[in-house]
């Protein structure tokens, strides 16, 4: 079977998706990045290969797309045909499953974004800048504090009848506010629901400020697993919020579909065996001019596979060993 592989490497999770030529998603994999994108990709590809052979699926990869914050790095080590920013990738993925889609709310581990679409193509977007309030990392920290598993967060929130008002503008101040509310006797359910409402309020007033939110609205990213947040969005927007299929791996789905839209004549994919090879990534400061760019270099088995990060193109256009 001929397939397109989409890889999304974010700060928290690394996702793999296989899409066949007919445009069906035939395989998804979600693993934790744990701060090491190279290892995560190697582990992911090994698992992918194993799973496929267990299922007796014969897959030939005819195109690879990468997205996420580590798209260039992962693109270099896997030999990607397309490296696309996560905003375009998410928009492409969601519009495949929800026709007539107008708004995408995406909350991931360390960033959150909103994309406005018209006729299936993105016309406006925004991403959170410096602050982490309003992301998955914020919820993770609070769940940890309340000693409840993040998986149960949504169900607990839904049980609340009267969500607590919490200032969720800043993670640090929210925490002190939450301790105060605990001390005056608010129940955990109400506080959890209050956190969900606070996060949504923060998202809508910072990231989504001034954006024209119209239905159909789609909510995706890791945090969309949380039913409490979905309900809080519906309460705040007074509109139905759709959770599309493959909501947690939508970036990878989008990347795969983007390659499928414009398939390469011959893929640059280096094959599954890169998992067994020694991949190292290092950086150095060029020093050739006062710009002093940080050049990043990837070596596979000691041979230079890619260089990037320079402004003038002195290093990135240099001949490679592979």
């Amino acid at each position: 079977m001929k397939c397109y592989l989409g890889i999304d490497v974010g700060s928290i999770s690394t996702n793999f998706v296989l899409v066949n030529e007919a445009g069906e998603v035939i395989y998804t994999l979600y693993i934790r990045t744990e701060g090491n994108p190279i290892k995560a990709v190697q582990a992911g590809l090994t698992m992918l290969k194993q799973n496929l052979s267990e299922k007796k699926m014969d897959v030939e990869v005819i195109g690879v797309g990468t997205t996420g914050s580590a798209r260039y790095l992962v693109g270099a080590i896997t030999g990607a045909d397309l490296m696309k920013n996560e905003i375009t990738a998410h928009a492409r993925g969601a519009s495949q499953f929800v026709p007539g889609l107008r708004t995408i709310l995406e909350i991931g581990g360390q960033d959150s974004k909103i994309v406005i679409l018209e006729d299936g193509s993105s016309v406006d977007f925004a991403m959170n800048l410096i602050c982490s309030a309003g992301t998955g990392a914020f919820l993770d920290a609070q769940a940890n504090r309340l000693k409840i598993p993040i998986e149960d967060f949504g169900d607990i929130a839904l049980r609340s009848k009267k969500p607590t008002q919490l200032g969720a503008r800043c993670t640090v101040f929210c925490e002190s506010d939450m301790i105060h509310k605990q001390q005056i006797g608010h129940s955990t359910e109400d506080i959890v629901a209050g956190l969900c409402h606070g996060l949504v309020r923060n998202f809508l007033s910072s990231v989504a400020k001034g954006k024209n939110i119209k239905s159909k609205i789609v909510f995706q990213g890791g945090v969309s697993e949380n039913k409490g947040i979905k309900k809080a969005f519906e309460d705040a927007l007074q509109e139905e919020v759709i959770i599309p299929p493959y909501n947690t791996v939508m970036g990878a789905v989008g990347a795969a579909f983007l390659v499928r839209d414009k398939p390469p004549e011959k893929t640059k994919f280096l094959g599954f065996d890169i998992t067994e090879r020694d991949i190292r990534c290092s950086s150095f400061n060029c020093g050739g001019c006062p710009n002093n760019c940080e050049v990043i270099e990837t070596r596979i088995d000691g041979k230079v596979a890619a260089r990037w990060g320079d402004r003038c193109g002195k290093w990135s256009t240099m001949k490679l060993d592979i």
Binding site: I87, V123, G210, N291, C312, G313
Partner: protein
């Protein structure tokens, strides 16, 4: 002989001034022609920015921290006088840069003299004359060369923005620009400069271009320092250019100098934007609105606003720009820059914005075609 007279003065001071994009070399040439000894701050990079941010008041605007970092680097090399100009960006906190930097440097234990003067033609002339000891005629002739250099630099910038998205050999234009600017810095007199001008411009004209390529037009507006200095805005113009996007900007040093000399330009802008903003907000706030309207009129495919984090005039007009965006449906991106901003984050936004711009462009074309088809169909019916 002229030069000799000035050289004879004992204990010549070593001056520096804030770096500002490609215009730096023109200003350096001006001061050197007046017989001053100039040491330029090194090209702005992350170390310089971090150095400046370390000692600057945290909530002050970004350009102040950058220029302070630059001063620090050259004070160690023996600079004792800093020329600082007030109000380069209209009336805003820029006015107090000199004052505050002087205090910060003094507190840090650095001994340096600040020559802080206002940006009116008269004050600039007076300050330069006093500090160089040159005659009226010398100052005037140095200014003539300065304007020649400046116009050449700006012309190169403009031409490069046009050629970059169309060039066949990616990166070729950038190389000519870089080499050209370096040789402009080395020119000694007007004659050399005029020769060089011919060379660079003919080189740029010879760059192989592909005219059949679809080119997208984006207008860049916002605060003058971030808009014009490639070292500050992460080479935004070149980055978008290589992605097939032609970047236009009205803002450059000549634009600003013109506004100093002819104050009625401001009245004209005010009249144009009256329905959006009825008063000045300082800096180039009004200009940003006016420019955005111009770009929309010219049927551009997108507008980018650049501002230093916390820039009061630009922050004030941002909601107005958003409103104009919503009225006209044009792609709009506002980027606020400071020492905390990472290049990776900016790149992601720029890439996504480039996609949005392209979508918009093709949608516009499709709509136009549809309208045309409908019209021909109607004619046939009749």
């Amino acid at each position: 002989m002229v030069k000799k007279l000035i050289m004879d003065k004992t204990e010549k001071s070593v001056v520096t001034f804030a770096r500002w994009g490609n215009y730096t070399i023109a200003v350096k040439g001006l001061l050197e022609q007046l017989g001053m000894k100039v040491i330029l701050p090194p090209k702005t990079n992350s170390t310089i920015i971090a150095d400046g941010a370390k000692i600057a008041p945290e909530l002050f605007c970004f350009p102040m921290k950058v220029t302070l970092g630059g001063y620090l680097a050259v004070i160690r090399e023996g600079v004792d006088t800093i020329l600082s100009i007030q109000n380069v960006g209209g009336s805003c906190r820029q006015k107090y840069y000199g004052l505050i930097q002087e205090k910060v440097l003094k507190d840090g234990g650095y001994k340096v003299k600040f020559v802080d003067f206002r940006a009116t033609p008269r004050d600039i002339f007076k300050a330069l004359k006093k500090n160089s000891g040159a005659t009226d005629w010398q100052v005037a002739s140095a200014f003539y060369t300065f304007f020649q250099k400046l116009s050449l630099i700006e012309r190169i910038e403009k031409m490069a923005a046009k050629i970059r998205p169309r060039e066949i050999n990616k990166g070729g234009t950038e190389k000519i620009v870089r080499e050209g600017l370096a040789s402009i810095e080395k020119t000694k007199n007007l004659k050399e400069l005029l020769n060089l001008k011919k060379q660079i411009i003919s080189k740029l004209k010879k760059v192989e271009i592909d005219n059949s390529r679809e080119v997208f037009k984006v207008g860049m507006i916002g605060e003058i320092y971030t808009v014009t200095d490639p070292a500050i805005n992460f080479d935004l113009e070149a980055k978008l250019g290589l992605d097939g996007i032609e970047v236009h900007r009205e803002m450059n040093l000549t634009y600003h100098l013109k506004k100093l000399a002819f104050p009625w330009i401001d009245w004209l802008i005010q009249r144009r934007i009256y329905s959006y903003l009825q008063s000045t907000v300082g800096g180039h706030g009004r200009d940003a609105i006016g420019e955005m309207l111009t770009f929309i009129e010219k049927d551009f495919d997108g507008v980018i606003q650049l501002l230093p984090f916390g820039c009061m005039p630009e922050v004030t007009v941002r909601p107005i720009l958003e409103k104009i965006r919503q009225e006209n449906n044009i792609p709009f991106l506002s980027l606020s820059l400071d020492e905390q901003v990472a290049e990776a984050g900016i790149n992601t936004r720029l890439e996504a914005f480039a996609d949005v711009v392209k979508n918009y462009h093709f949608k516009k074309q499709k709509d136009l075609k549809r309208q045309k088809d409908a019209r021909t169909l109607n004619v046939k019916k009749i």
